[in-house]
Symmetry: C2
Subunit: 216 residues, 2 copies
């Protein structure tokens, strides 16, 4: 209940506190560095389960100091979600997402979505868990649906080109495909130097989604 051990710690002080504290080389927060702390807590406790008190303890500053950097809790949510959405939509503008057969484009988008999800893990995790209670959350859901819609279009195109099995409904398959990709946030935890790991996971996703579990 007290806050011993969570008091502000300047990196220069050298005390190895457990708190993530400020970004390296600074002794004060920016909205960006505060966001990183907040998103971590949001994902652990859930957005609604996180109070400003929780955030202040994790950041090592008082509740009121947080309001110096951001307008409030919801602004933190908005910034986090915006970052996740930017990463996802950027995939659709990549060259490989726009040329070649539809099934190859779909495979590319599948792999890259898994990849971005892992690279921006905490932000995408938050995006995927939003429930629609606030305006920000409803905006997030709407944009997410838009992304899904565009991928669904790829799947339909691949079906039209005759590259997909015919006994699977495209809408249903899209949902299951995304379900599989998105579920990565439930268990993937990045390691330092994780590029290899990410590729391994993305490979597995693509293989499972396109070829299935069973030995051919």
């Amino acid at each position: 209940m007290d806050n011993i051990g969570t008091m502000p710690v300047k990196p220069s002080a050298g005390s190895p506190a457990k708190s993530p504290a400020r970004s390296p080389g600074r002794d004060t927060y920016t909205p960006e560095s505060l966001l990183a702390v907040a998103v971590g807590v949001f994902n652990e406790r859930g957005y609604d389960g996180t109070s400003m008190e929780h955030l202040s303890r994790a950041a090592g500053i008082s509740k009121s100091s947080i309001y110096h950097h951001v307008r409030g809790k919801e602004e933190l949510l908005h910034r986090a979600i915006a970052r996740a959405l930017d990463g996802l939509f950027a995939i659709l503008d990549e060259p490989d997402a726009g040329r070649g057969r539809a099934i190859e484009r779909l495979e590319h988008v599948t792999r890259r979505t898994a990849d971005v999800l892992m690279a921006e893990l905490p932000y995408v995790t938050l995006l995927l868990r939003v429930r629609g209670n606030t305006r920000t959350e409803r905006w997030a859901m709407e944009r997410r649906r838009e992304f899904d819609h565009r991928v669904a279009g790829l799947l339909k195109a691949a079906a039209a080109e005759g590259d997909l099995r015919t006994d699977l409904d495209a809408r249903l398959a899209t949902r299951l495909l995304f379900g599989m990709i998105n579920s990565i946030v439930e268990w993937y935890r990045p390691q330092p130097g994780d590029a290899v790991d990410r590729e391994r996971v993305a490979d597995a996703v693509v293989r499972l989604a396109f070829e299935g579990l069973r030995k051919q």
Copy 2:
């Protein structure tokens, strides 16, 4: 802000209020019928985002009346989660989950898990969204891990029997498989007389998981 239209409505009164009200044939709540209402609200707003005020409005009775039926908010969560877990663990005791080649048992469990998930949709949805903030939530996560573990065993056995492709890690594949199945709660909405629908979805899950998207 007022509560016009959400006042208690006895079924005998015949007023077609939008509120789910009591279970048919009764004019008072049981813990069971109250649970059905509460779980609906929990899933719409999230557990933490739901207040007793929200519940009371949805049930059409006052906050304090709720405490006549259950001890509090967390008891409702516990009951809901227990119901979901009972349904899932029962699958592992079914005859088809215990005989034949491992890959056939795995296919059976996959199909039935999807089926139970849809049959007990609101309860399983709640189970899958739990974050671990309370004792009840941590218990739920533990039991869920136990279920996943037992299915992971099936997958490993199928691999040992040589029926699974060898370029997929069993642990990773289990997670992706469950991710796909569990994602059903994000979009499936039951219709009256939905047995056909459920079978269609379960079929799609099994096909996608075992054979993949691509035309063979």
